[in-house]
């Protein structure tokens, strides 16, 4: 997927929303290239277990770069249905592929109306530009 296809939180998580075969909306969630560049060398990630219920704007995990620990926030309300367990062994490569191999979790969305509160690519780019200055 490409950055232009994604929705974003103000805290730099991205979400890619698709229908699963049953028709439920699934959000694949990761962290943007902008955020990963700021974090630099990653050393540890702590992700939720499958089945955990998460809420939009609330922490769903943590990521540690060299000496900095950051909370990861859920972009949506829902239930974690899949976790990228391979990520922990390949954190060094995460920044090279943040939008495909670098996904963190997949969440079955409970309330689609909250998607309207996320940023589209253009709005997110604007936010990143403002943060850089």
């Amino acid at each position: 997927m490409t950055p232009e296809q994604l929705l974003y939180t103000k805290s730099h998580e991205w979400a890619y929303v698709q229908d699963d075969p049953s028709g439920a909306k699934i959000a694949t969630v990761g962290l943007s290239a902008f955020a990963l560049e700021l974090l630099t060398d990653l050393v540890y990630v702590d992700l939720p277990e499958v089945g955990r219920r998460v809420s939009a704007g609330e922490p769903l995990g943590e990521i540690e770069s060299v000496k900095a620990v950051s909370d990861l926030y859920s972009p949506v309300d829902g239930e974690v249905v899949e976790v990228n367990t391979a990520l922990a062994d390949n954190l060094a490569g995460l920044a090279d592929d943040p939008y495909d191999a670098g996904w963190f979790v997949k969440i079955r969305i409970a309330d689609e109306s909250l998607l309207a509160g996320l940023l589209d690519y253009a709005a997110y780019q604007k936010q990143c530009a403002e943060e850089e200055h």
Partner: protein, 252 residues
């Protein structure tokens, strides 16, 4: 050269020595407070007894490999990085609110704070620099002690790391912890501090006063000395008891 940070009113807390759980709880209260009120806060403090603080993700079992600090009480920090023996040292915590230019770039905050410390140490005749060796690969297993690790932005004097910092980011707010090694501790005798490097001792009080003056200039801070309110003390006391003093938090 980065532009100077915008002029910012900053709360100043010069705290008496506290226990490990209390010290960590106060810093989390200040972090949470900034999430709500967007204020900047600088706190300098010491520890009531030699205490070992572990980085947020550091396994508690790793302390078995460090015999010298085995008798020290232990607390887990909210911030990352390696273990620190808080004995002959000065600790600071800095809370920078979301949206402040210093909160956006991790390295800039490290370097701005550490550069101000370099300036301060120069006043005492100590030449210090920032560690810049970015090409060296990090070891697959980092040393247990923070002061035996090296990361860009760490502060060295005489080739020895004498100050390091680590951060916690929550809702855009940054809590940065840092430690300045003033002298060698019996609980970490492998680490020299400023007293051994400079051949004269700089007390925590003298260092704190001199650094505060330089920080105000370098970070464009206007100090507002404001001790903890009764409400904040109560919150910190509860957090210390329920979280930082509990085995569930420390022993992972």
């Amino acid at each position: 050269m980065p532009t100077k940070p915008p002029s910012t009113a900053c709360r100043l807390l010069l705290d008496p020595p506290g226990g490990g759980a209390w010290n960590m709880a106060v810093d989390e209260v200040l972090l949470e407070r900034s999430v709500e009120d967007n204020r900047c806060c600088w706190r300098m403090y010491r520890w009531r007894e030699p205490t070992l603080s572990l980085g947020y993700f550091q396994p508690h079992g790793d302390r078995r490999d460090h015999a010298h600090s085995m008798n020290c009480p232990t607390v887990r920090r909210l911030t990352g990085g390696g273990a620190i023996v808080h004995d002959i040292e000065l600790t600071y915590s800095l809370v920078v609110p979301a949206g402040h230019p210093l909160a956006v770039q991790r390295n800039r905050l490290y370097e701005t704070v550490h550069n101000s410390l370099i300036e301060t140490l120069a006043e005492f005749g100590v030449a210090a620099t920032l560690y810049r060796n970015c090409r060296q690969r990090r070891p697959s297993v980092e040393p247990f002690l923070c002061f035996q690790r090296r990361a860009p932005g760490d502060m060295l004097a005489g080739g020895i790391k004498i100050a390091g910092s680590a951060q916690r980011r929550r809702r855009g707010v940054v809590l940065q912890h840092g430690s300045i090694l003033l002298g060698r501790s019996e609980a970490a005798p492998e680490l020299d501090g400023l007293a051994e490097i400079a051949q004269n001792s700089i007390t925590a009080e003298v260092m704190s006063e001199a650094w505060t003056a330089v920080l105000a200039e370098d970070l464009s801070f206007t100090w507002h000395e404001e001790p903890l309110s009764e409400h904040e003390r109560r919150l910190a006391s509860e957090l210390a008891q329920e979280k930082y003093a509990s085995a569930g938090w420390t022993v992972i």
